[in-house]
Protein backbone atom coordinates (compact mmCIF):
# COMPACT_ATOMS: atom_id res chain seq x y z
CA UNK A 1 0.00 0.00 0.00
CA UNK A 2 2.84 2.35 0.97
CA UNK A 3 4.76 1.57 -2.20
CA UNK A 4 1.64 2.15 -4.28
CA UNK A 5 1.15 5.53 -2.57
CA UNK A 6 4.79 6.45 -3.23
CA UNK A 7 4.50 5.52 -6.90
CA UNK A 8 1.26 7.49 -7.19
CA UNK A 9 2.77 10.60 -5.55
CA UNK A 10 5.84 10.32 -7.77
CA UNK A 11 3.70 9.97 -10.86
CA UNK A 12 1.48 12.91 -9.94
CA UNK A 13 4.52 15.08 -9.17
CA UNK A 14 6.27 14.25 -12.44
CA UNK A 15 3.04 14.61 -14.36
CA UNK A 16 1.89 17.91 -12.87
CA UNK A 17 5.08 19.88 -12.25
CA UNK A 18 5.06 21.20 -15.81
CA UNK A 19 1.35 21.91 -16.00
CA UNK A 20 1.65 25.58 -15.16
CA UNK A 21 4.22 26.30 -17.84
CA UNK A 22 2.45 24.04 -20.35
CA UNK A 23 -0.91 25.74 -19.85
CA UNK A 24 0.52 29.24 -19.96
CA UNK A 25 2.51 28.27 -23.04
CA UNK A 26 -0.49 26.89 -24.88
CA UNK A 27 -3.07 29.47 -23.79
CA UNK A 28 -1.73 32.67 -22.43
CA UNK A 29 1.72 33.72 -23.52
CA UNK A 30 1.86 33.11 -27.22
CA UNK A 31 1.10 35.81 -29.79
CA UNK A 32 -1.88 35.01 -31.99
CA UNK A 33 0.01 34.22 -35.16
CA UNK A 34 2.75 32.08 -33.63
CA UNK A 35 2.83 28.44 -34.65
CA UNK A 36 3.64 26.16 -31.75
CA UNK A 37 5.85 23.90 -33.76
CA UNK A 38 5.83 20.18 -33.36
CA UNK A 39 3.95 18.75 -30.41
CA UNK A 40 6.54 17.48 -27.89
CA UNK A 41 5.06 13.99 -28.01
CA UNK A 42 3.91 12.28 -31.21
CA UNK A 43 0.20 13.21 -31.07
CA UNK A 44 -0.69 10.31 -33.38
CA UNK A 45 0.88 7.85 -30.99
CA UNK A 46 -0.81 9.56 -28.04
CA UNK A 47 -4.28 9.36 -29.54
CA UNK A 48 -3.70 5.75 -30.62
CA UNK A 49 -2.83 4.82 -27.03
CA UNK A 50 -5.90 6.69 -25.75
CA UNK A 51 -8.15 4.93 -28.27
CA UNK A 52 -6.62 1.58 -27.29
CA UNK A 53 -7.37 2.16 -23.59
CA UNK A 54 -10.89 3.27 -24.48
CA UNK A 55 -11.34 0.11 -26.54
CA UNK A 56 -10.35 -1.94 -23.49
CA UNK A 57 -12.79 0.00 -21.27
CA UNK A 58 -15.75 -0.28 -23.64
CA UNK A 59 -14.75 -3.83 -24.57
CA UNK A 60 -15.08 -4.74 -20.88
CA UNK A 61 -18.43 -2.97 -20.59
CA UNK A 62 -19.84 -4.61 -23.71
CA UNK A 63 -18.36 -7.95 -22.58
CA UNK A 64 -20.32 -7.61 -19.33
CA UNK A 65 -23.46 -6.84 -21.35
CA UNK A 66 -23.08 -9.89 -23.61
CA UNK A 67 -22.13 -12.15 -20.69
CA UNK A 68 -25.38 -11.23 -18.93
CA UNK A 69 -27.35 -11.44 -22.14
CA UNK A 70 -26.06 -14.96 -22.81
CA UNK A 71 -27.63 -16.16 -19.53
CA UNK A 72 -31.12 -15.35 -20.77
CA UNK A 73 -33.12 -17.35 -23.28
CA UNK A 74 -34.90 -14.18 -24.40
CA UNK A 75 -33.38 -10.73 -24.39
CA UNK A 76 -34.38 -8.21 -23.16
CA UNK A 77 -35.80 -10.16 -20.18
CA UNK A 78 -39.57 -10.32 -19.80
CA UNK A 79 -40.94 -7.16 -18.22
CA UNK A 80 -38.34 -4.86 -19.76
CA UNK A 81 -39.86 -1.81 -21.47
CA UNK A 82 -39.68 -1.09 -25.17
CA UNK A 83 -37.69 2.16 -25.21
CA UNK A 84 -38.91 5.11 -27.22
CA UNK A 85 -35.98 5.95 -29.51
CA UNK A 86 -37.05 9.48 -30.45
CA UNK A 87 -34.34 11.22 -28.38
CA UNK A 88 -31.78 8.54 -29.34
CA UNK A 89 -32.45 9.23 -33.02
CA UNK A 90 -31.89 12.95 -32.48
CA UNK A 91 -28.65 12.14 -30.62
CA UNK A 92 -27.55 9.93 -33.52
CA UNK A 93 -28.29 12.73 -35.97
CA UNK A 94 -26.32 15.15 -33.77
CA UNK A 95 -23.27 12.87 -33.73
CA UNK A 96 -23.37 12.24 -37.50
CA UNK A 97 -23.69 15.99 -38.16
CA UNK A 98 -20.87 16.83 -35.78
CA UNK A 99 -18.56 14.18 -37.29
CA UNK A 100 -19.20 15.50 -40.80
CA UNK A 101 -18.76 19.10 -39.60
CA UNK A 102 -15.42 18.49 -37.88
CA UNK A 103 -14.08 16.64 -40.93
CA UNK A 104 -15.13 19.60 -43.06
CA UNK A 105 -13.54 22.03 -40.58
CA UNK A 106 -10.21 20.18 -40.62
CA UNK A 107 -10.32 20.15 -44.42
CA UNK A 108 -10.93 23.92 -44.45
CA UNK A 109 -7.98 24.41 -42.11
CA UNK A 110 -5.74 22.43 -44.44
CA UNK A 111 -6.86 24.75 -47.25
CA UNK A 112 -5.91 27.72 -45.08
CA UNK A 113 -9.49 28.98 -44.64
CA UNK A 114 -9.37 30.02 -40.99
CA UNK A 115 -12.88 31.51 -40.73
CA UNK A 116 -14.57 28.42 -42.13
CA UNK A 117 -12.42 26.24 -39.87
CA UNK A 118 -13.41 28.19 -36.76
CA UNK A 119 -17.09 28.17 -37.74
CA UNK A 120 -16.98 24.40 -38.22
CA UNK A 121 -15.16 23.89 -34.95
CA UNK A 122 -17.61 26.00 -32.95
CA UNK A 123 -20.54 24.30 -34.69
CA UNK A 124 -19.14 20.91 -33.68
CA UNK A 125 -18.78 22.07 -30.08
CA UNK A 126 -22.36 23.34 -29.97
CA UNK A 127 -23.73 20.14 -31.52
CA UNK A 128 -21.59 18.04 -29.19
CA UNK A 129 -22.83 19.88 -26.10
CA UNK A 130 -26.45 19.19 -27.11
CA UNK A 131 -25.83 15.45 -26.78
CA UNK A 132 -25.25 15.28 -22.98
CA UNK A 133 -27.98 17.90 -22.45
CA UNK A 134 -30.46 15.58 -24.17
CA UNK A 135 -29.17 12.51 -22.35
CA UNK A 136 -28.72 13.77 -18.80
CA UNK A 137 -31.31 16.57 -18.96
CA UNK A 138 -34.18 14.85 -20.74
CA UNK A 139 -33.88 11.13 -21.41
CA UNK A 140 -32.52 9.89 -18.07
CA UNK A 141 -34.87 12.05 -15.92
CA UNK A 142 -37.82 10.99 -18.08
CA UNK A 143 -37.01 7.28 -17.78
CA UNK A 144 -36.24 7.42 -14.05
CA UNK A 145 -38.95 9.81 -12.85
CA UNK A 146 -41.63 8.08 -14.92
CA UNK A 147 -40.40 4.76 -13.54
CA UNK A 148 -40.08 3.36 -17.06
CA UNK A 149 -36.52 2.12 -16.60
CA UNK A 150 -34.29 2.69 -13.57
CA UNK A 151 -30.84 1.34 -12.69
CA UNK A 152 -32.62 -0.97 -10.22
CA UNK A 153 -35.08 -2.41 -12.74
CA UNK A 154 -33.25 -5.62 -13.55
CA UNK A 155 -30.26 -6.52 -15.68
CA UNK A 156 -31.44 -4.55 -18.70
CA UNK A 157 -31.84 -1.35 -16.66
CA UNK A 158 -28.45 -1.78 -14.99
CA UNK A 159 -26.72 -2.45 -18.34
CA UNK A 160 -28.51 0.47 -19.95
CA UNK A 161 -27.38 3.03 -17.35
CA UNK A 162 -23.87 1.60 -17.09
CA UNK A 163 -23.21 1.72 -20.84
CA UNK A 164 -24.95 5.01 -21.59
CA UNK A 165 -23.40 6.56 -18.46
CA UNK A 166 -19.83 5.65 -19.45
CA UNK A 167 -20.48 6.81 -22.98
CA UNK A 168 -22.11 10.08 -21.83
CA UNK A 169 -19.08 10.82 -19.63
CA UNK A 170 -16.84 10.38 -22.67
CA UNK A 171 -19.01 12.76 -24.69
CA UNK A 172 -18.63 15.37 -21.91
CA UNK A 173 -14.83 14.91 -22.06
CA UNK A 174 -14.99 15.34 -25.84
CA UNK A 175 -16.94 18.59 -25.47
CA UNK A 176 -14.38 19.90 -22.94
CA UNK A 177 -11.59 18.99 -25.40
CA UNK A 178 -13.43 20.87 -28.15
CA UNK A 179 -13.83 23.95 -25.91
CA UNK A 180 -10.06 23.94 -25.34
CA UNK A 181 -9.49 23.46 -29.09
CA UNK A 182 -11.86 26.40 -29.79
CA UNK A 183 -9.85 28.69 -27.49
CA UNK A 184 -6.61 27.76 -29.21
CA UNK A 185 -8.21 28.15 -32.65
CA UNK A 186 -9.36 31.70 -31.85
CA UNK A 187 -5.83 32.49 -30.68
CA UNK A 188 -4.64 31.54 -34.15
CA UNK A 189 -2.59 28.58 -32.97
CA UNK A 190 -3.61 26.21 -35.75
CA UNK A 191 -2.27 26.46 -39.27
CA UNK A 192 -2.35 24.18 -42.33
CA UNK A 193 0.97 22.74 -41.08
CA UNK A 194 0.11 22.62 -37.39
CA UNK A 195 -3.20 20.98 -36.60
CA UNK A 196 -2.31 17.71 -34.91
CA UNK A 197 -4.33 18.50 -31.78
CA UNK A 198 -7.47 19.24 -33.81
CA UNK A 199 -7.14 15.94 -35.65
CA UNK A 200 -6.49 14.10 -32.39
CA UNK A 201 -9.63 15.61 -30.84
CA UNK A 202 -11.68 14.74 -33.90
CA UNK A 203 -10.36 11.16 -33.86
CA UNK A 204 -11.47 10.82 -30.23
CA UNK A 205 -14.86 12.29 -31.16
CA UNK A 206 -15.31 9.82 -34.04
CA UNK A 207 -14.47 6.98 -31.67
CA UNK A 208 -17.13 8.15 -29.19
CA UNK A 209 -19.53 8.33 -32.14
CA UNK A 210 -18.90 4.75 -33.25
CA UNK A 211 -19.50 3.48 -29.70
CA UNK A 212 -22.84 5.29 -29.73
CA UNK A 213 -23.88 3.38 -32.89
CA UNK A 214 -23.34 0.10 -31.04
CA UNK A 215 -25.37 1.40 -28.07
CA UNK A 216 -28.17 2.59 -30.32
CA UNK A 217 -28.38 -0.81 -32.03
CA UNK A 218 -28.09 -2.90 -28.87
CA UNK A 219 -30.13 -0.90 -26.35
CA UNK A 220 -32.81 1.02 -28.21
CA UNK A 221 -33.37 -1.20 -31.23
CA UNK A 222 -32.52 -4.26 -29.14
CA UNK A 223 -35.28 -3.38 -26.65
CA UNK A 224 -37.80 -3.92 -29.47
CA UNK A 225 -36.77 -7.52 -30.07
CA UNK A 226 -39.05 -8.89 -27.35
CA UNK A 227 -41.98 -6.83 -28.58
Amino acid sequence: MLSFGAVLVGFLYSDTRNWRSSISRSIGRIPGDTALGTFPVDINLTIQIIILTELLLFGGAFGEYFAIRARFVYWPPAGSPVLDDFIARIQTLILISSSVLIEWAVWQLKLGKQRAFKAGLVGTTVLGSLFPILQFGFEWPHLILSNILTPASGFFGASFYLLTGIHGAHVVVGVIAYCYTDIRAFMGQYTPNNHGFVEATSTYWHFVHIIWLFLFALLWQGSRLLA
Binding site: G196, I210, L213, W220
Partner: protein, 173 residues
Protein backbone atom coordinates in the same frame (compact mmCIF):
# COMPACT_ATOMS: atom_id res chain seq x y z
CA UNK B 1 0.68 14.54 -39.20
CA UNK B 2 -1.12 11.57 -40.67
CA UNK B 3 0.62 8.26 -40.29
CA UNK B 4 0.00 5.33 -42.59
CA UNK B 5 -0.95 1.99 -41.07
CA UNK B 6 -0.10 -1.45 -42.37
CA UNK B 7 -3.28 -1.40 -44.53
CA UNK B 8 -2.33 1.85 -46.25
CA UNK B 9 -4.89 3.76 -44.19
CA UNK B 10 -4.08 6.98 -42.37
CA UNK B 11 -5.30 8.10 -38.96
CA UNK B 12 -7.03 10.97 -40.76
CA UNK B 13 -9.16 8.39 -42.64
CA UNK B 14 -10.84 7.38 -39.37
CA UNK B 15 -13.40 10.19 -39.79
CA UNK B 16 -14.48 8.95 -43.25
CA UNK B 17 -14.66 5.40 -41.89
CA UNK B 18 -16.92 6.46 -38.98
CA UNK B 19 -19.15 8.69 -41.13
CA UNK B 20 -19.85 5.83 -43.57
CA UNK B 21 -20.44 3.43 -40.67
CA UNK B 22 -22.92 5.90 -39.20
CA UNK B 23 -24.70 6.53 -42.49
CA UNK B 24 -25.28 2.81 -43.03
CA UNK B 25 -26.15 1.89 -39.43
CA UNK B 26 -28.30 4.94 -38.66
CA UNK B 27 -29.83 4.94 -42.14
CA UNK B 28 -30.94 1.34 -41.64
CA UNK B 29 -31.88 1.39 -37.95
CA UNK B 30 -33.04 4.96 -37.46
CA UNK B 31 -34.87 5.63 -40.71
CA UNK B 32 -37.77 3.66 -42.18
CA UNK B 33 -37.26 2.01 -45.56
CA UNK B 34 -38.23 4.24 -48.47
CA UNK B 35 -41.21 2.98 -50.43
CA UNK B 36 -40.44 3.60 -54.10
CA UNK B 37 -42.54 2.02 -56.87
CA UNK B 38 -43.89 -0.49 -54.30
CA UNK B 39 -40.31 -1.62 -53.53
CA UNK B 40 -38.66 -1.23 -50.15
CA UNK B 41 -35.40 0.69 -50.46
CA UNK B 42 -32.81 0.60 -47.67
CA UNK B 43 -31.47 4.12 -47.09
CA UNK B 44 -28.17 2.68 -45.88
CA UNK B 45 -27.44 1.19 -49.32
CA UNK B 46 -27.63 4.56 -51.09
CA UNK B 47 -24.03 5.76 -50.39
CA UNK B 48 -22.53 2.53 -51.80
CA UNK B 49 -21.25 4.11 -55.04
CA UNK B 50 -19.32 6.75 -53.05
CA UNK B 51 -16.77 4.05 -52.28
CA UNK B 52 -15.28 5.00 -55.65
CA UNK B 53 -14.47 8.48 -54.28
CA UNK B 54 -13.70 7.83 -50.60
CA UNK B 55 -11.88 4.52 -51.04
CA UNK B 56 -11.01 1.87 -48.50
CA UNK B 57 -12.21 3.80 -45.38
CA UNK B 58 -15.69 3.88 -46.95
CA UNK B 59 -15.52 0.15 -47.80
CA UNK B 60 -14.64 -0.75 -44.20
CA UNK B 61 -17.11 1.80 -42.78
CA UNK B 62 -20.09 0.49 -44.76
CA UNK B 63 -19.18 -3.08 -43.81
CA UNK B 64 -19.03 -2.24 -40.10
CA UNK B 65 -22.25 -0.25 -40.46
CA UNK B 66 -23.96 -3.33 -41.82
CA UNK B 67 -22.63 -5.40 -38.93
CA UNK B 68 -23.99 -2.87 -36.40
CA UNK B 69 -27.34 -2.67 -38.20
CA UNK B 70 -27.64 -6.46 -37.95
CA UNK B 71 -27.13 -6.27 -34.16
CA UNK B 72 -30.41 -4.38 -33.81
CA UNK B 73 -32.62 -6.89 -35.58
CA UNK B 74 -33.71 -10.38 -34.62
CA UNK B 75 -32.22 -12.72 -37.17
CA UNK B 76 -30.65 -16.14 -37.32
CA UNK B 77 -26.88 -16.45 -36.84
CA UNK B 78 -26.48 -17.00 -40.59
CA UNK B 79 -27.61 -13.37 -41.12
CA UNK B 80 -24.39 -12.22 -39.46
CA UNK B 81 -22.56 -13.39 -42.60
CA UNK B 82 -24.25 -10.61 -44.61
CA UNK B 83 -21.45 -8.05 -44.09
CA UNK B 84 -18.96 -10.47 -45.68
CA UNK B 85 -20.91 -10.52 -48.96
CA UNK B 86 -21.33 -6.74 -48.86
CA UNK B 87 -17.60 -6.36 -48.23
CA UNK B 88 -16.82 -8.44 -51.32
CA UNK B 89 -19.24 -6.36 -53.40
CA UNK B 90 -17.80 -3.09 -52.08
CA UNK B 91 -14.29 -4.26 -52.92
CA UNK B 92 -15.46 -4.89 -56.49
CA UNK B 93 -16.71 -1.27 -56.70
CA UNK B 94 -13.45 -0.01 -55.20
CA UNK B 95 -11.20 -1.91 -57.60
CA UNK B 96 -13.37 -1.25 -60.67
CA UNK B 97 -13.49 2.53 -60.06
CA UNK B 98 -10.70 3.23 -62.55
CA UNK B 99 -12.54 1.79 -65.57
CA UNK B 100 -16.26 1.61 -64.62
CA UNK B 101 -17.88 2.40 -61.30
CA UNK B 102 -21.26 1.51 -62.79
CA UNK B 103 -20.07 -2.02 -63.64
CA UNK B 104 -18.82 -2.37 -60.04
CA UNK B 105 -22.19 -1.20 -58.72
CA UNK B 106 -24.03 -3.77 -60.85
CA UNK B 107 -21.78 -6.56 -59.58
CA UNK B 108 -22.45 -5.33 -56.01
CA UNK B 109 -26.21 -5.44 -56.64
CA UNK B 110 -25.97 -8.97 -58.02
CA UNK B 111 -23.81 -10.28 -55.16
CA UNK B 112 -25.92 -8.77 -52.35
CA UNK B 113 -29.23 -9.65 -54.02
CA UNK B 114 -28.16 -13.26 -54.57
CA UNK B 115 -27.16 -13.56 -50.90
CA UNK B 116 -30.38 -11.93 -49.62
CA UNK B 117 -32.48 -14.11 -51.93
CA UNK B 118 -30.87 -17.13 -50.30
CA UNK B 119 -30.99 -15.68 -46.75
CA UNK B 120 -34.49 -14.27 -46.42
CA UNK B 121 -36.41 -17.49 -47.20
CA UNK B 122 -34.08 -19.33 -44.80
CA UNK B 123 -34.76 -17.03 -41.82
CA UNK B 124 -38.37 -16.02 -42.43
CA UNK B 125 -39.95 -18.86 -44.44
CA UNK B 126 -41.07 -16.63 -47.30
CA UNK B 127 -41.06 -18.18 -50.80
CA UNK B 128 -37.80 -17.60 -52.67
CA UNK B 129 -39.56 -16.68 -55.89
CA UNK B 130 -41.43 -13.85 -54.12
CA UNK B 131 -38.26 -12.49 -52.53
CA UNK B 132 -35.84 -12.64 -55.46
CA UNK B 133 -37.45 -10.01 -57.65
CA UNK B 134 -38.28 -7.49 -54.88
CA UNK B 135 -34.79 -7.76 -53.30
CA UNK B 136 -33.09 -7.23 -56.66
CA UNK B 137 -35.33 -4.26 -57.48
CA UNK B 138 -34.87 -2.68 -54.00
CA UNK B 139 -31.08 -3.02 -54.16
CA UNK B 140 -31.02 -1.75 -57.73
CA UNK B 141 -33.04 1.40 -56.92
CA UNK B 142 -30.97 2.21 -53.81
CA UNK B 143 -27.58 1.75 -55.48
CA UNK B 144 -28.56 3.58 -58.67
CA UNK B 145 -29.84 6.58 -56.63
CA UNK B 146 -26.44 6.62 -54.95
CA UNK B 147 -24.68 6.25 -58.29
CA UNK B 148 -26.48 9.33 -59.65
CA UNK B 149 -25.39 11.24 -56.54
CA UNK B 150 -21.84 9.98 -57.10
CA UNK B 151 -21.90 11.29 -60.70
CA UNK B 152 -23.04 14.72 -59.49
CA UNK B 153 -20.33 14.92 -56.83
CA UNK B 154 -17.67 13.71 -59.25
CA UNK B 155 -18.73 16.26 -61.85
CA UNK B 156 -18.58 19.11 -59.33
CA UNK B 157 -15.14 17.90 -58.16
CA UNK B 158 -13.86 17.84 -61.75
CA UNK B 159 -15.27 21.32 -62.39
CA UNK B 160 -13.53 22.69 -59.30
CA UNK B 161 -10.29 21.01 -60.35
CA UNK B 162 -10.50 22.54 -63.85
CA UNK B 163 -11.32 26.00 -62.43
CA UNK B 164 -8.32 25.79 -60.11
CA UNK B 165 -6.02 24.82 -63.02
CA UNK B 166 -7.24 27.54 -65.42
CA UNK B 167 -4.61 30.22 -66.13
CA UNK B 168 -5.61 33.50 -64.49
CA UNK B 169 -6.41 36.37 -66.87
CA UNK B 170 -3.81 39.10 -66.85
CA UNK B 171 -4.76 42.75 -67.02
CA UNK B 172 -2.72 44.67 -69.53
CA UNK B 173 -2.53 48.40 -69.59
Amino acid sequence: MARESAFGLKLGDFGIFVIFTAIYAAGTLGLPKLALLTYQVKVGEIPTAFVAIFGMPAVLGLTLGQFIANLGVEASPIASLTPIFSFIGLLVIYYSRKFSTLAGCIVYILITSAWLTFLLPTVSQVPQSAVAYSVLAGQFIAVIIGYLGYLLVRKSMLNKHETANEPKATVSS
